[in-house]
């Protein structure tokens, strides 16, 4: 029996929802979420791990979804931007971005939100220096970063709510 294959069936949970799909093994996790599941808020920028636009949370940790194959997410728990917001509202983190004008074109925003989410889970009360350092793996061409830093600090000061685990 040959253990190698070009296609595989995977089972995973995405934003609380069970998913099963058969995919080409070379399909990137980002492309799987965008094309197979229609979750297009995860962006692709550089496709080699430096811009941060593709950042999402896998099994509780922020990762580059352009550097993971969908088959590697078998049996995993994925959180994307679409999973941050409670039904019909912005999450506190997203609201902080809105209130502090931390986005313009919005292309980098998904990646920043997921990076900020992991940052605040691991360090709920970061200093400005820690926020700047923690966000340094995400690139933005529009804003000049200052308002993004302000937004993350604002979210940290109010505290971000834990996610609802039962999501439709």
């Amino acid at each position: 029996m040959d253990h190698f294959s070009e296609r595989r069936t995977i089972h995973l949970r995405v934003n609380g929802q069970e998913v099963q799909c058969t995919v080409e093994v070379r399909k990137l996790l980002a492309d799987f979420l965008r094309e197979d599941l229609g979750l297009t808020a995860t962006r692709l920028g550089c496709e080699h791990g430096v811009c941060g636009a593709c950042t999402l949370v896998l099994n509780g940790d922020s990762v580059r979804s352009c550097l993971l194959f969908a088959v590697q997410a078998d049996e995993a728990e994925i959180l994307t931007v679409e999973g941050l917001a409670p039904e019909g509202r912005l999450s506190q983190l997203q609201q902080a971005f809105w209130d502090n004008h931390a986005l313009q074109c919005g292309f980098c925003t998904s990646g920043f939100l997921m990076t900020a989410y992991d940052l605040l889970q691991k360090n709920p009360h970061p200093t400005e220096e820690e926020v700047r350092y923690g966000l340094s793996g995400n690139l933005c061409r529009c804003t000049g970063y200052a308002n993004i830093v302000k937004a993350v600090l604002a979210a940290a000061s109010t505290g971000i709510e834990p996610l609802e685990t039962n999501r439709k």
Binding site: V25, R26, L28, D61, C66, L67, T115
Partner: protein
Amino acid sequence: MKPLKFEYARAESVEQALSFLAEGDEATRILAGGQSLVPLLNLRVAQVTRLIDINGLSELSFIARENGALRVGALTRHRDLELSQSVRAAQPLLSRAAAEIGHLAIRNRGTIGGSLAHADPAAEWPLLSVTLDARLTLRSKSNSRAVAARNFFAGPLTTAIQPDEMLCEVRFPAPAGRTLWGFQEFCRRPGDFAIAAVACQISLDERGLCAAAALGVGGAHSTPLFISDVEKVLRGSRGEDTALKEAAEKAATAIDPSSDLHASADYRRRLVKVLALRALKQAWAEPGSRT
């Protein structure tokens, strides 16, 4: 860009991974953290026809102290090394270097084994392994051998690993007695590869004099470079300025840096002299670096 077609298998044991390698060829590659390999696949720069996913091999992910030495499994993530209390207690230089690698998302997935096998001359683990005289365990289906890190790196992205071998473990030897350490990395933005980096470890005898010294340079040569002349210069000293400056000079003359879009060779050489001096001063100055 998207990767070319390849076949994929998930190894269920180290033995199975080694069997897959034995059956394969140069285009059969190990997938660990993927933070170095997948960019090459996405850019279609690496030739891979079979990918062996070893992320399920938990027996390759460990941090163990053994009589003061540190044994680290190849699949151990940078993030785990960064946070490990064992590592911080045994060799704080390793904790400091781990924290410097890329960004959090990279450290959450990237592994020490992957970084060593990928062998970017500007990466942190190659520099640390060479500076601290680590031993790397390479296994194949029929053999196991230990290679000194100082003999492991042959050139940029080139190592002693044979096509049928997998790096399984790294062993950092026990520091001798009281040790000091320094680490200086220069780059334009946090998370970038080093334009140049210097790591050093100094062992003191009972009188507080230097008994042994190891200094390595990264990013300024075709491989990370251990500067063997530094120990002769520093042995017996108490970290006097003249001795440190002479040691830094040895580092700057030993390297053969290249010019690229980040820096000229001349710039790198000057930078190494400054960083080496700073790293040595850091070692002798920081109370926290004394064990």
